[in-house]
């Protein structure tokens, strides 16, 4: 591709916006057909699908496979606005909404959720012809971000900038080369040097699970309230990431959290757990009980607790437990992705998680006298040793095992309810997780997991339901389960699954804790799960998708947060 430094001299120039890769989502087949035709007439590459879920899958499979998404507002399986959010958070693609209904309130909602544009049906050709401007605009902004960071450009360029160039992105002086982002041309032009940073096209930063975990961790470390893009950036220590990237991601993250928060608040009502200051260490322990209550004594459930407040706790707890577990077990439990697992071991880190737990615990405590659980043996299961150790560090955050046995915490009723609810939903997830984990856990003795799982399942399910995170916890649980298998004891009490989960979830929870900082256990729970692939981060990562997808969809009605998790997960993944 010829890179034109100034102006569009590259042959590609002419090409753009032709070949723009558009994904159209609409439940009405007549419209799909018409739109496809119209877009093809604009020389765009069109992919159609009639289900939002399907669309998300397509987008996830090929992260850079599309430039823009056009979606209808009214769809049977998922609200168009939700899809919009997902895409915005996970893939950061421009999304255009369309509808027959052009009411101002709807349009406003669309914009609020991040839509680039809102088209009214019937859509005219000329309107479709111009959609490329949104893609272009985003590219420009990205480039600008790059420019702001010295040295980034070069990095970016090599990394992603080449996409632009490859496709004939033309570099124009200050005008960012718009060029279509062409992922195919990735790095083809590595040898190209971008003389003009501004011209280089900044590849869109893909917030992978790892990256997002780092991000969340950094946020949690700083303290959600004090967070700022610069601080986060420094903490994350990702060389090629720009402050702008972080800033925009932070914004999304905040929106996401606030949404979850609202939902969790609703959920909390039954648990009554709100982040209240919990004794830092104890809180973790309390989580255990929480978890047990709701989910499975294992901290893991923490994340799953739907109650927002408790969620954080749960998650935190789980995380902690996991962290500890991880540290101890070191074996099968693959260190949770990211620092979480590691952090757990680290006292300071653990603390942070604890803190999060504390918060959550606090709430939890208030709601449920989980404290009693705290004492529960973290994990009586074989690997409980590990957890115990870890728990001790934390102050026995994971009294998973104990928690399990103790399940009868005062507030169990609430949790149980939740757990029950989640149970149903969680179960499927758990199963999934289990299978996933089992594989990974290998050494742990997957078999053990199963028996435990079945037991824990019920618990786990509960836990999971509670927190979309359960998914993640499942994973952790699986890991835990392995451990627990031996200790059937705890499992039995808990339902086995609970225990198993806690372990797993712990790590995840920890992640959650960190992520949440404030109390977004829910979301993180999921995230943690995914990220915290104990045994195999990669494996975990794989599962998350379907897990949270499952969660997402299954629990949609149950937990909106789950969806967020999905998003989070998507981020992670």
């Amino acid at each position: 591709m010829v890179l034109a430094e100034s102006g569009f001299s590259s042959p590609r120039n002419d090409a753009f916006p032709a070949g723009l890769r558009v994904l159209v989502v609409d439940d009405d087949p007549t419209w799909l057909k018409i739109l496809e035709k119209m877009l093809k007439k604009c020389s765009y590459e069109v992919t159609t699908c009639c289900l939002a879920r399907e669309a998300l899958n397509l987008l996830r499979e090929r992260k850079d496979g599309y430039d823009i998404v056009i979606s209808d507002v009214n769809m049977p399986d998922m609200d168009g606005f939700k899809l919009l959010e997902h895409v915005g958070l996970e893939m950061d693609l421009p999304v255009i909404m369309m509808s027959v209904d052009g009411e101002t309130s709807r349009v406003m909602k669309g914009v609020q959720h991040g839509a680039c544009d809102y088209l009214l049906k019937p859509i005219r050709m000329k309107e479709l012809r111009n959609i490329w401007q949104h893609v272009f605009r985003k590219k420009i902004h990205e480039v600008r971000d790059i420019e702001s960071l010295e040295g980034f450009e070069s990095i970016q360029m090599t990394r992603s900038g080449y996409d632009l160039f490859d496709d004939g992105h033309f570099l124009s002086g200050d005008d960012t080369t718009s060029g279509r982002k062409r992922k195919d041309a990735d790095n083809k032009h590595d040898d190209r040097e971008l003389s003009d940073p501004s011209s280089t096209k900044k590849a869109r930063v893909v917030w992978t699970v790892d990256l997002h975990q780092k991000f969340v961790k950094a946020v949690n470390q700083i303290g959600f309230d004090k967070v700022g893009p610069k601080k986060i950036l420094d903490l994350m220590n990702v060389p090629w990431l720009t402050r702008e990237n972080v800033a925009s991601h932070l914004q999304k993250y905040r929106l996401y959290l606030s949404r979850l928060q609202k939902e969790s608040d609703i959920k909390n009502s039954f648990i009554g757990m709100k982040h209240s200051d919990l004794p830092s260490k104890d809180s973790t322990a309390s989580f255990g009980p929480h978890k047990a209550m709701n989910m499975i004594p294992d901290d893991v459930p923490n994340g799953t607790y739907s109650f927002s407040a408790s969620n954080s706790l749960a998650q935190n707890v789980d995380l902690k437990g996991q962290g500890d577990l991880k540290g101890i077990t070191s074996a099968p439990v693959a260190e949770p992705k990211g620092a979480l697992s590691i952090d757990i071991h680290d006292s300071h880190e653990a603390k942070s998680t604890q803190m999060s737990f504390d918060h959550s615990l606090g709430s939890v405590d208030s709601a449920v006298s989980f404290a009693s659980f705290n004492s529960t043996t973290p994990l009586q299961y074989p690997w409980t040793e590990i957890p115990e150790i870890q728990f001790k560090q934390e102050g026995e955050p994971l009294h998973l095992e104990n928690g399990f046995s103790q399940l009868p915490l005062p507030g169990p009723s609430m949790i149980e309810n939740e757990a029950n609810r989640s149970r149903i939903e969680v179960k499927p997830l758990l199963d999934e997780c289990r299978s996933n984990f089992v594989e990974h856990l290998g050494p742990v003795g997957a078999e053990d997991l199963f028996p435990i799982q079945s037991k824990g399942q019920s618990l786990n399910n509960q836990v999971f339901d509670l927190i979309s995170a359960t998914k993640s916890s499942m994973k952790t649980q699986d890991v835990g389960l392995n451990y627990l298998a031996d200790s059937e004891l705890a499992l039995r009490n808990l339902n086995a699954s609970g225990v198993g989960v806690p372990l797993a979830t712990l790590s995840e929870d920890l992640q959650i804790c960190w992520l949440q900082g404030d109390c977004y256990p829910m979301n993180y729970g999921l995230q943690d799960l995914e990220c915290s692939t104990y045994d195999n981060p990669a494996l975990m990562a794989e599962t998350p998708f379907h897990l949270y997808d499952v969660l997402r969809f299954d629990h949609e009605h149950l937990f909106d947060p789950t969806e967020y998790y999905a998003i989070d997960q998507g981020l992670f993944a």
């Binding site: 087949p29 007549t30 419209w31 009214n74 049906k121 005219r124």
Partner: protein
């Protein structure tokens, strides 16, 4: 001669559609989308439309017979019908759909029933007009 006659017929029919506002500009757009590689595009679209819309209308009519009437469901289908009709430029049908939706929105079930009858009439006549058009 015959073909010329046929063309004239088609043209006349088409024009009448626009004159009567049975079809709106959307229809022309669809025609523009047609090309050598898919000469029957418009027809295909309409076939799809008729198929779906007939099903929609039947569902609505069924829903209107059940007691109590599930107005949410009816509204949803009307919304879909609205979208579909807009896609092909079925102007009058669209207007009827909108009218009926408004009446339904106000809770006037009787009025809704009447509206749906009207809608059905419009739709049938629309279909009756378009089908020969395509056959020609």
């Amino acid at each position: 001669m015959e073909s010329k006659h046929v063309h004239q017929q088609i043209a006349a029919m088409r024009q009448s559609f626009f004159d009567e506002e049975v079809l709106d500009e959307k229809f022309s757009q669809l025609e523009q989308l047609e090309g050598k590689d898919n000469p029957n595009f418009v027809e295909e679209v309409f076939t799809m439309y008729f198929r779906d819309s007939t099903a929609f209308l039947e569902t609505i009519e069924q829903a209107m017979k059940t007691i109590p009437i599930d107005s949410i469901k009816v509204d949803n289908i009307l919304h879909q019908l609205k979208g579909s009709s807009a896609s092909v430029g079925a102007n009058k049908v669209l207007k009827e759909v909108n009218k009926t939706r408004q009446v339904l929105g106000k809770g006037n079930l009787e009025g809704t029933k009447a509206g749906i009858l009207e809608l059905r009439k419009e739709y049938d006549s629309f279909k009756a007009k378009l089908e020969p058009y395509f056959q020609v």
